[in-house]
Symmetry: C2
């Protein structure tokens, strides 16, 4: 049997998450561009390094053009009892590579979506190869739109994540879960017994080759989370564009929120993109740099004491749906009438 594999067949293995991809070129070549998700062990180090791969996964090795270093590497692995193949054509033939743009992996599938009534944003993220997807902060009213998009894009929704227990709209979590089989996930601190997953600091959520990291950012509410994925952070109502979430109900605290923003969000690289749960002026995204510079509440050199004073002086009315939304969201989006029917 020929111990090599075509692009086409490797993609099929990747879709089923049945493969570990091993780049056996030198580190410098790897750094200039590589198959997204691959690990790098130069062929010369292969004998000495232990490769931690579960036995139900095949290892596919590749080099620049395919057939010299990758074939040698596959042979070494086979001799060590691993299930290994080498990639025909190597990195140069990889379909998501083009000479003009290195690396040109097909980018992540990413959709920001808005709900007009509550000025809410929902985010759909997916791996274009495995089609595994997650959704952040879906809204009950736009469930059908979200389902249509998931179906059109042929995605497999794995998780429905909430940044916090929303007070202004009802989550689409329960309805989406019913229609897709995805798992719902909220902060452990929310004490929501209907959630499949309870999220904690530094927990990792995987979809395809991507990993989303959970950051606890309390202050708007005490169970508020932010989610970090690639160079994007989904900040819920913790940090908003040129604003912040309010801190006057649901155990909110300006003191705690200031620290969450400064220690967890403003410490990220300046070009990290910020995607909040709402915007009332029609802004869609920002960056860490822009909020550090221009956020009138918590950026532009404002001290914690100044922030606390600003927040105490706001004197906002309650969101109009608060008495319906919070109990429903504590039940993953099921309203009381649904729960007693």
């Amino acid at each position: 049997m020929k111990p090599s594999i075509s692009n086409h067949k490797l993609l099929a293995l990747m879709k089923n998450n049945h493969v570990t991809i091993l780049d056996v070129r030198g580190q410098e070549e790897f750094n200039r561009g590589h198959i997204f998700g691959a690990i790098n062990i130069p062929v010369d180090e292969l004998q000495t390094k232990h490769i931690n791969v579960s036995n139900d996964k095949v290892i596919v090795t590749y080099c620049g053009k395919g057939g010299s270093r990758s074939e040698k590497a596959a042979k070494i692995l086979l001799e060590n009892g691993k299930n290994a193949l080498w990639l025909e054509g190597g990195y140069l033939d990889w379909p998501f590579f083009s000479p003009n743009r290195i690396p040109t992996e097909e980018p992540m599938i990413f959709h920001q979506l808005s709900e007009k009534e509550s000025s809410s944003y929902t985010y759909l993220l997916a791996d274009p190869i495995t089609r595994e997807a997650i959704i952040i902060d879906p809204v009950l009213e736009t469930t059908q739109r979200d389902l249509n998009l998931i179906k059109e894009l042929d995605l497999n929704l794995l998780y429905i994540l909430e940044t916090h227990i929303h007070a202004d709209h009802i989550t689409g979590s329960s309805e989406l879960k019913k229609r897709t089989g995805a798992k719902s996930a909220v902060s452990k601190k929310a004490g929501v017994c209907c959630a499949d997953l309870e999220l904690e600091e530094n927990q990792e959520i995987k979809f395809g080759r991507y990993t989303l990291k959970v950051l606890e950012t309390p202050g708007h509410t005490d169970e508020s989370l932010s989610f970090l994925c690639e160079n994007m952070i989904f900040t819920g109502d913790s940090l908003m564009i040129r604003g912040t979430g309010r801190t006057d109900f649901q155990n909110g605290s300006p003191d705690v929120l200031y620290d969450s923003i400064h220690k967890k969000i403003f410490s990220l690289p300046d070009d990290t993109k910020i995607y909040p749960a709402h915007d009332y002026k029609g802004m869609l995204s920002s960056t860490v740099l822009c909020e550090k510079e221009f956020n009138p509440r918590v950026g532009s050199g404002k001290t914690k004491d100044e922030f606390i004073k600003i927040m105490k002086d706001l004197k906002l009315a309650d969101p109009k749906n608060i008495h319906e939304a919070i109990p429903a969201n504590l039940a993953c989006g099921q309203t009381i009438s649904q729960r007693i029917s």
Copy 2:
């Protein structure tokens, strides 16, 4: 005098648009990544090729590491009476280059913005180095938000572009022009005498190192334009996400719109991103591939006859602001009361 230049000084020249950047490496090296906006003439061809550069621009040459090929190239140019310098450190030292991502030019500044009342989208595009910017389809009500963003980002707004004469909201063009000195631009076919620029098929609008190309896409209205820039097309009300603009007023024609969409938009690469002037379901963008596949009116194999029947059967009410918006937009966003005051 040392005939070389630092990164820092080259950036300053770029900001003032005072420089032509010449990559003197081989074509293959150039194709793997280069300074955005540079032209490629390998040093060996420099003697034979005529370089068309205005005399008030300096030429900066660069090669991989700086100092060998680029120095030789600058010498040849100087001997030919050109004003030339070579870049110290070459491409490897260019600050927007990193070994992990090639090329990693700082990406275009791009903001999609929304106006809730009319579900309109406004787009702000800018070159991060020269800070020259354009805005597409601004809305009168959100002028201050747009001005704030332009000021915060330290942008120099050159043009205010309209995809068409809107019937559902008043353009922010006149107000933005007054406050920034930018030039307003609409289709020549609109017959709008207050516009500074009348746009026609294939016309190019330049901002910094970027070029936006005008495509005439009539059918929603007869002066409707789409704007193509990099891998994005701004389709106005011609092609919308899973929909199209209506064709029952302002000289609209489903026959003409079908051809505009199929010949001008669907002929673009499948991964071209589509940014419309509106969306009523909270979708923000699409791609040529998705609309060809899923647009229920004009994609998914629909024939022109089927499209014409769909559009004739819609029987929509007029937009509520049509009698105020169209006259105002024909006056670049000035209402009658402003014009007679």
